[in-house]
């Protein structure tokens, strides 16, 4: 059950143009840096990307936007990125905005084999347009569907050769949910260890959900908003 591949290029080698990808991360926190670089190098296009954000101009999914690789972006917040704005305004890029919790829960629904769930967010707003509304216990909810995703690409802190994953801090965010939702799930990790080294009680994503794993060459882990207190 060894799922280790040589590196990012091998991990993404069969992702075709036109595929639907889930990409983990919140802002630039916890994004699969190495796989994104490999996708940029590979040059496939017409991709549909499901990710909470779209990176910044020169990092993360922003790099794929620079190369016009993305046809459609499904996200909750996309405002950090001039090239994104340009492509959206010219109509080159299709954008579907989804409330953050709904985005997360629709990923979870996929990994849990639930085709649809009822959620509150967006009731009474333009997000509700065209969606089924149902009342439960006096409150209205929207019927929200699970996502269909060809590949999920996530970065974890630690992983083992069987694909078990552990995340660190707020770099966890969407990544476990997406890892569970991919038809094929690719995990890059900061530390790859032999099976048996991770505490089986502490695993966030069991290896059954992960198809390929490798240790990333290098992590820049860029910070978007460096906020600090002065040392006195």
């Amino acid at each position: 059950m060894n799922k280790v591949v040589a590196g990012a290029d091998e991990a993404v080698k069969d992702i075709p143009s036109g595929a639907t990808l889930m990409l983990g991360g919140f802002g630039l926190c916890g994004i699969p840096e190495n796989c994104i670089h490999a996708l940029v190098k590979k040059g496939i296009n017409n991709l549909t990307c499901i990710s909470n954000n779209a990176g910044v101009d020169d990092f993360g999914i922003g790099l794929m936007l620079q190369g016009r690789q993305v046809k459609k972006m499904i996200a909750s917040y996309v405002g950090e990125n001039a090239e994104f704005e340009r492509q959206m305004l010219t109509g080159e890029l299709e954008v579907e905005l989804v409330p953050q919790g709904t985005l997360a829960t629709r990923c979870m629904a996929t990994g849990y084999g639930m085709p649809a769930v009822f959620l509150l967010a967006g009731i009474g707003t333009e997000v509700a347009e065209g969606k089924e509304v149902r009342n439960f216990n006096g409150k209205n909810y929207l019927l929200e569907h699970a996502f269909d995703s060809d590949f999920a690409i996530v970065k974890a802190w630690k992983g083992d050769t069987q694909g078990n994953l552990i995340f660190k801090g707020t770099a966890r965010n969407f990544s476990p949910l997406m890892a569970m939702a991919g038809k094929i799930t690719i995990a890059e990790v900061e530390h790859l260890v032999p099976a048996g080294e991770l505490d089986p009680n502490a695993i966030h994503v069991p290896g059954i959900y992960v198809h390929r794993i490798f240790q990333g060459d290098k992590y820049e882990k860029r910070i978007e908003q460096r906020t600090v207190r002065k040392r006195s």
Binding site: G30, L97, A104, H204
Partner: protein, 218 residues
């Protein structure tokens, strides 16, 4: 004189009760963390996956894997816990978060809120705002009473696309504190130096003044 942002934050901090779990939005709401009253023990939730958010790190201690929902580097306090985004919004939807403090572009006198989209301008997305306003059990809005043109942002009806319907419970603006009631905005406090007449003039939505209205203590 109208309150500054720090004063708005300080007034909202008075709403915190011991034992509260609180989600603070970006902007003025973030500042509320600086004014938590002594003896009041609250846990801050960050919707990107953390309970037990602490202050900004000391210079050099920043960790790229530890940010808040505004993507700022932060720290944790003892007893913190990390979780994924589905659980994070799950606990909000399930009513486990006692108080959410948000900014707004407009609030209507029935509690509607608009804070995510200006038609014709670049749309950045709603992020977690729609989830928070739809699901949080107690929502306080921190906002300027008027826009830069001097027009009221407390309206009979929002003109901008809604973020949520009938969900705001209270507004703390630079001019005063307003409960949302079936009769509209109910002014319960005015900022020091602000007159009721000024509040009336600058509030476009239905407004009632509480019998026991008093000057805000900030």
């Amino acid at each position: 004189m109208a309150l500054n942002k720090e004063q708005i934050a300080r007034r909202i901090a008075q709403e915190l009760q011991d034992g509260f779990y609180v989600n603070l939005g970006i902007g003025i709401p973030t500042l509320v963390a600086n004014y938590i009253p002594h003896g009041v023990d609250v846990v801050l939730q960050s919707e990107n996956g953390l309970l037990g958010m602490g202050p900004f790190p000391l210079e050099g201690d920043e960790d790229a894997d530890l940010i808040n929902a505004g993507k700022q580097t932060i720290t944790t306090v003892p007893g913190s816990a990390f979780f994924d985004s589905a659980m994070s919004f799950g606990m909000i939807r399930a009513g486990k978060v006692d108080l959410t403090v948000l900014g707004a572009m407009e609030v209507a006198d029935n509690g509607d809120i608009a804070n995510w989209k200006i038609p014709g301008k670049m749309v950045k997305g709603m992020g977690g705002a729609m989830d928070l306003v739809a699901a949080a059990k107690n929502i306080i809005v921190a906002m300027q009473h008027t826009n830069p043109k001097g027009e009221s942002k407390l309206l009979p009806k929002c003109s901008l696309p809604l973020t949520g319907v009938g969900c705001v419970k209270k507004v703390v603006s630079d001019l005063g504190v307003f409960d949302i009631t079936p009769d509209g905005f109910r002014c319960i406090e005015y900022a020091p130096g602000v007159t009721i007449d000024e509040i009336k003039a600058k509030t476009a939505g239905r407004l009632i003044i509480a019998d026991d209205v008093k000057e805000m203590i900030v």
